[in-house]
C-alpha cells in the first residue's frame, strides 16, 4: 500500500471531524449534555427542603407506570398520533397533488395551504379557541345553519381531543405538502403517460405508481409527523389545558406540568427518557422496515 495514500486518508478524516466539530459541540452543549443530565436526574428522588434528593434507582419509572394519569396521557397521545399522522399525511398529499395540478389560481391555493405553517401556534390556538366557542363560534354557526345543536367542542371529553387533533392537522398539513410537492417534481411525467397508455385510470395510477414512488417522502414526513405528535403542545396551553379531566392531555404537556408546575423534575425526567426511548425505537424500526421496501432508489 502507498504510504502517502494512507496519510492522505487520515488527513481527510481529520478534515471531516473538524468540519463537523462546531455543530457537534453546540449539539452536545444544548442537547446531548442536558439529555444525559436528564437521564441522571431521573434516577434520583425529588428533593425538598425537608427531604434532600436521594438515589432512587428506577423508582421514578415505577411511579409513572403506577400512575393512572400516565396511561391516560399515553393513550391520548397514541390516539392523537394515530389520527394526526395519517390524516395530515393524507391532506398533505391531496394538497400537493392539487397544488401541482393545473387549476385556476394555483398560487393562491398553494399560499392558502401553506399559510397555517407560518402562523404562530399560540396565535392560531387563540383563533381556534373562538372557532370552537359553543353556539357563538364559527363552527357552531355553520353546523347550526344546517340545524345541528350547538356543541361544546372543547368542553366535553368526547370532542376535546378531536378538536385538538383538528387544529394540529390544520397546522401541519401545509408544511408536509411542501415535501410532497418537491417529491412530485422528481417523478418523470412519462410514467403517467405510460400508465395511461397501458389503460390505467387516474386512481390506478395514483395507487399503483404514484404512492409507491412517493414512499421515501412519506417516510420522511412520517418521522417528522411522529416527532411533532409529541412535540406540538403549544395549542394545549390555550385550548384545553389538557382537560376536561385529562381528556386531551398529551405526554409533553404532562411532562411540562410535572417539571414546572409540580416542581417534580425527577418524574418529568423519567418521562422524558421514556419518550426519547420510544421515539428512537419507533424511528429505527420505521427506517429499517421501509428501507427494505424502497431500496430501488
Amino acid at each position: 500500500m502507498n504510504e502517502m495514500a494512507q496519510l492522505q486518508k487520515r488527513r481527510l478524516a481529520l478534515y471531516g471531524w473538524m468540519l463537523a466539530a462546531p455543530a457537534l459541540a453546540l449539539m452536545s452543549l444544548f442537547a446531548f449534555y442536558p439529555a444525559i443530565a436528564t437521564l441522571w436526574h431521573s434516577l434520583f428522588s425529588r428533593g425538598t427542603s425537608r427531604r434532600p434528593s436521594v438515589f432512587a434507582g428506577l423508582d421514578n419509572y415505577g411511579d409513572l407506570f403506577a400512575d393512572p394519569t400516565f396511561w391516560t396521557v399515553a393513550s391520548n397521545n397514541l390516539i392523537y398520533a394515530g389520527i394526526t399522522i395519517p390524516v395530515s399525511i393524507f391532506f398533505a398529499l391531496a394538497m400537493a397533488l392539487w397544488a401541482n395540478a393545473h387549476i385556476p389560481a394555483r398560487s393562491f391555493v398553494r399560499s392558502a395551504y401553506f399559510t397555517p405553517t407560518i402562523l404562530p401556534m399560540i396565535a392560531a390556538a387563540n383563533l381556534w379557541l373562538f372557532f370552537y366557542t359553543p353556539d357563538l363560534g364559527v363552527i357552531d354557526q355553520i353546523t347550526g345553519f344546517f340545524g345541528a345543536e350547538p356543541t361544546n367542542w372543547l368542553g366535553q371529553p368526547e370532542t376535546a381531543l378531536a378538536s385538538i387533533i383538528i387544529v394540529t392537522i390544520w397546522k401541519e398539513s401545509g408544511f408536509f405538502m411542501i415535501f410532497y410537492l418537491a417529491a412530485l417534481q422528481t417523478i418523470p411525467p412519462d410514467l403517467r403517460e405510460a400508465a395511461h397508455i397501458e389503460g390505467a385510470g387516474r386512481w390506478t395510477y395514483t395507487r399503483r405508481i404514484l404512492l409507491p414512488l412517493l414512499m421515501p417522502t412519506t417516510i420522511f414526513v412520517f418521522v417528522n409527523a411522529m416527532i411533532n405528535s409529541v412535540k406540538l403542545i403549544d395549542h394545549l396551553f390555550i385550548l384545553t389545558k389538557g382537560g376536561p379531566n385529562n381528556a386531551s392531555k398529551l405526554i409533553l404537556y404532562w411532562i411540562w406540568e410535572m417539571a414546572f408546575a409540580y416542581f417534580d423534575s425527577p418524574h418529568a425526567a423519567a418521562m422524558t427518557i421514556l419518550v426519547l426511548l420510544t421515539l428512537g425505537i419507533v424511528a429505527v424500526i420505521q427506517f429499517r422496515l421501509v428501507e427494505k421496501r424502497t431500496h430501488y432508489r
Binding site: 361544546n152 368542553g155 376536561p244
Partner: protein, 397 residues
Amino acid sequence: ATELTMYYPVAVGGPLTDVIDGMIDGFESEHPDVKVNAIYAGNYDDTRLRAVSAIKSGDPAQLSVMFSIDVYDLIEQDLIVPFDDVVKTAEDKEWLNGFYPALMANGKVDDKTWGIPFQRSTIVMYYNKDMFREAGLDPESPPQTWEELVADGKALAKDGKWGLMVPSTGYPYWMFQCFAVQNGKELMSNDGTETYFDDPAVVEALEFWRGLATDEKIMPEGTIEWGTLRQAFVQGQTAMMWHSTGNLSAVKREAKFDFGVAMLPKHKQSGSPTGGGNFYLFKNSTDAQKEASLELIKYMTAPDRAAEWSIATGYVGVTPEAYETDALKSYAADFPQALVARDQLEVAIPEFSTYDTARVRDGLNNAIQAALTGEKTPKEALEGAQAEANRLLRAFH
C-alpha cells in the same frame, strides 16, 4: 448602589408593562441608590419557570410576583424567605397589618408572612341588566341566594340564551371554592396539609353546580371555557356570569349594554375566594437587597399605586387606604361596580392552596370536570380526588 431584579407576570390583557415601568421609575427617583430591573416574564407559569431557571443557575433575583397559591411549593423548594425576617421596625410591622386580612391569608404559613398581596382578584357575578329587564326581573336586585339564582336563571334562560355561566376550565377549583364556601365548607385546612373534598357539604356543592346544567337547565352542559366566557357574556349569550374581577375593565369597555356587578349569592353563608399574585422575596440576596426589596414592595403597594393599579387592571386595591384615595374614589363614583370586590373581601376566603399544591389542585380540577361532564358522579369524583390528595399530603403532616 443596590441592584434589584424583579420578575412579574401580566395575567390580564393589555399594555400593563408600561404601568409597572412607571411605578419603577417613580420608586427609583425616590430611592436613587436603588436600581431595579423589572422584568416582564409572561404569564404566571412562565414567570415561575423563569424564576426557577434563574435561581437554579445561580443568577441573582431578589423578588418576584407569583401566584399567591405557590407559597407552599416555594417554601418546599427553599426558594423564598418570610417577610418576618426582613421586617424589623415597628412601622414595618404595622405596614404588614395594613392589608385586607383576606388577601394576607394566602401568604401566611406557619405563622409567618411569605407573600404580600399585589395583583389580587376575587370572583364576582356580572349580570346583564337589559336581559333582566326583558325577563321582567328587577335589574337592580340581582339574585342573592342560590334559590334566587336558580329562579332568576330560569326566567332568563330562553331563546337559546343561558341564565348563568360559571367557567370550568382554567381554574375550576377556584370557582368551586365559591360553591363550597357558600355551602358552608372550605376545601382545605389553613396549614395546607389537609383537604375536605369528600365532605358532604362539598359534595353537595358540586351536585348543585352540576345541577344548574342538568336539572335546572340554566347553564350549558359540559365544561365552560374560561377564555371565551367574557366574549359570550358581552355578546349576550348569557345573562349572568361568575368571573374574576380582573375582567371588570374589559367588560366595561366591551359591553354594549347596561351591566351590573354583584356579590356572589349565598347559601348557608356568603363567600368567595381571592386569587392572583403576591410579592415574594428570594433567598440568596444580601441584607441590603432585602431591605431595598421591602422598600420597593412598600412603594408598589402604597395606596396611590394600589389605586392606580386597581383602576388600570380591575384588581382589588390591596389596602383599605387605597379606596380612600381621590383617584379610586372618583373612579368608583362613576363606576360603582368597582367597589363590589372590596365589599366582598369581608367574606372572602384564601384561594385553594396546599403542599404539593399543583398536583392536589389538578386532582380536584379533574374531579370537578369529570362531574360536570357527567363522567362521574360528584361524590365518586370528589372521593377519588380526596384519596389522591391524602396520598400526596401524607408526607406533610
